[in-house]
Amino acid sequence: MTSRFLASILVATLGLSLSACGKKPETSNGELVIKIGSVSPLTGPQSHLGKDNENGARLAVDELNAKGVMIGGKKARIELLSEDDAADPKTATIVAQRLIDEKVAGVIGHLNSGTSIPASKLYSDAGIAQISPSATAVKYTAQGFKTAFRVMTNDAQQGRVVGTYAAKLGKKIAIIDDRSAYGQGLADEVEKAAKAAGAEIVAREYTSDKATDFTAILTAIKGKDADVIFFGGMDPQAAPMVQQMKRLGITAQFLGGDGAQTAEFLHLAGADGEGVIASNPGLPLASMPGGQAFEQKFTAKYGKIQNYSPYAYDAVMVMVGAIQRANSLDPKLSLAELEKTDYSGVTGKIRFDPKGDLAGGNVTLYQVKNGQWVPLETVKSDGQ
């Protein structure tokens, strides 16, 4: 008798806890909950950039909650579920599945192209919209998934601008990439554009996104008298690379992509960073329509902006905007609305082309002068 009684209690509690796990989108006080996923590397060498993205998204969520969001006549609260993919493609698919199981309304992420691409297949199968604030590899939106969007200019557009610029700086160009989907993709596009502009690629070297020693490949490049060294990769590699160039007596102009155009790069490279040129999709923060206001709000709460947080902020706004217009938590309806996005955000005008790429983005080139990134010129990408 007692054992049966115990068993029934067990079954009852199990049933209760299971139903508690069943994602009811409504809390006890009748408030709707909109779950938005955010994925970026929160551990590992790129965790400073990952935290920056999460903070950008969180700022947007907090503001929206403070303002109050209504869905279908009911008050809704946005909940940000932040996951760590450690910039690792395998982990990315695991956390993507976790978010899908949590029935999120949309995902802001991932930070890297290498993680966004494998995860995009899962989101597409689940019919959940994904907006990457910072994945720039062409492949991300070229796979035919209707759920993959980005709010940043892609590598084909950026690579064209940087490659053409590199050919203007010198005729002998050496290219290094970190073998990540982003670094390799950008370096390939730069190589193509530089060759088209009449430059010669004297060396193509490779490293990894965890390396700190580049003396071997830099010495090999030194032997080939390059005028320009382009690096496709992130700031934790770019900064020691620049220092090692100086130490080896290499005088070639160092050129980087958006992964190197960060506050962290300036901090780490110090005086050795002087004169470095790097590109970043979009406008400089100071020239962004909402740049200064964003910087004030962000720094008051989280400290220095690393790089992509304004894009993560806009991505949340665009995502929630679509859900609000759909007036429903059904991902199918909000996805249809997302395609029609026409939003003036912190980073500029956000509209998507049929592939999910940002329509008509800009690319800006910056140079380090007196320890600051100074915009050199902004090139309009060909608005495809």
């Binding site: 551990t43 060498p45 490779y206 965890k210 071997a216 490949i217 010495t219 030194k222 220092q243």
Partner: protein, 308 residues
Amino acid sequence: MDIFLQQLINGLVLGSVYALVALGYTMVYGILELINFAHGEVTMIGAMVALSVIGALVGHVALPGVVIVAMGVLVAVPVCMLLGFTIERVAYRPLRHAPRLAPLITAIGVSILLQNLAMIIWGREYVKFPPILSSATHQVAGATISDLQIFILVLSLLIMAGLVALVQKTKLGRAMRATAQAPQVAALMGVNVNSVISLTFIIGSAIAAIAGVMVAAYYGLAHYYMGFMLGLKAFTAAVLGGIGNLAGAMLGGLLLGVIESLGAGYIGDITGGFMGSNYQDVFAFFVLILVLVLRPSGLLGEQVGERA
């Protein structure tokens, strides 16, 4: 020729740091037959502690850069010694007679724990090594070598020589060698095995702290994640030279550095662009596989009977 010399110098500097960290792996393995996977993290903690001290001093005291760095090292070394002692006491000693897999797993656990602890204390950002050391360079037969590189190379060799002298010439060294050969017999002969093992961890951790500061100074930065790859490479170096063997760890470290450097520098030209510097790590690990297949005990594994 100057390019070759440059690659050789790069490789030797890199290799001497690998060798220093590899010593810690090999000393522990020699005595306990345990691979202390947390050793890379001890190196990282050494760099982080030293950088905290250096960061606090720079700009506030009017001392030469070398003195400030030395003060950082003077704080980092005891901290790491205490850390090494604690790790052994807490994570390995209770498992000394457990199956060999158990301490291996706690080693990995300690490594993850230290990484995350460092992330909480020092944050996710890279910690910059202030540019207070001389960055002057010298031209040697067409190759460039900096003061820092010379310093790292010389100090590494001194530490290695000191350790060899300690193990071969002192009473403590004899106790270490005895414990390595037969712990029970050593205990019967009056050797306090527990304190010998503790001292092994303490010495290895002190060397790791110095290696950590060197790496941070050389690359200009430190990060809570830096111990992972460094530890892996140093472990490879230790195995390459014959794990458990001091001279083997030094040889393995220097060799691995030179192989990596020359491999990355020349593989593209040798294979006509078919293979590039992306094979840098493959090259190093390929040599490791070759050594393990042909000489499973490592390069110097068998020639020297005594381990410590």
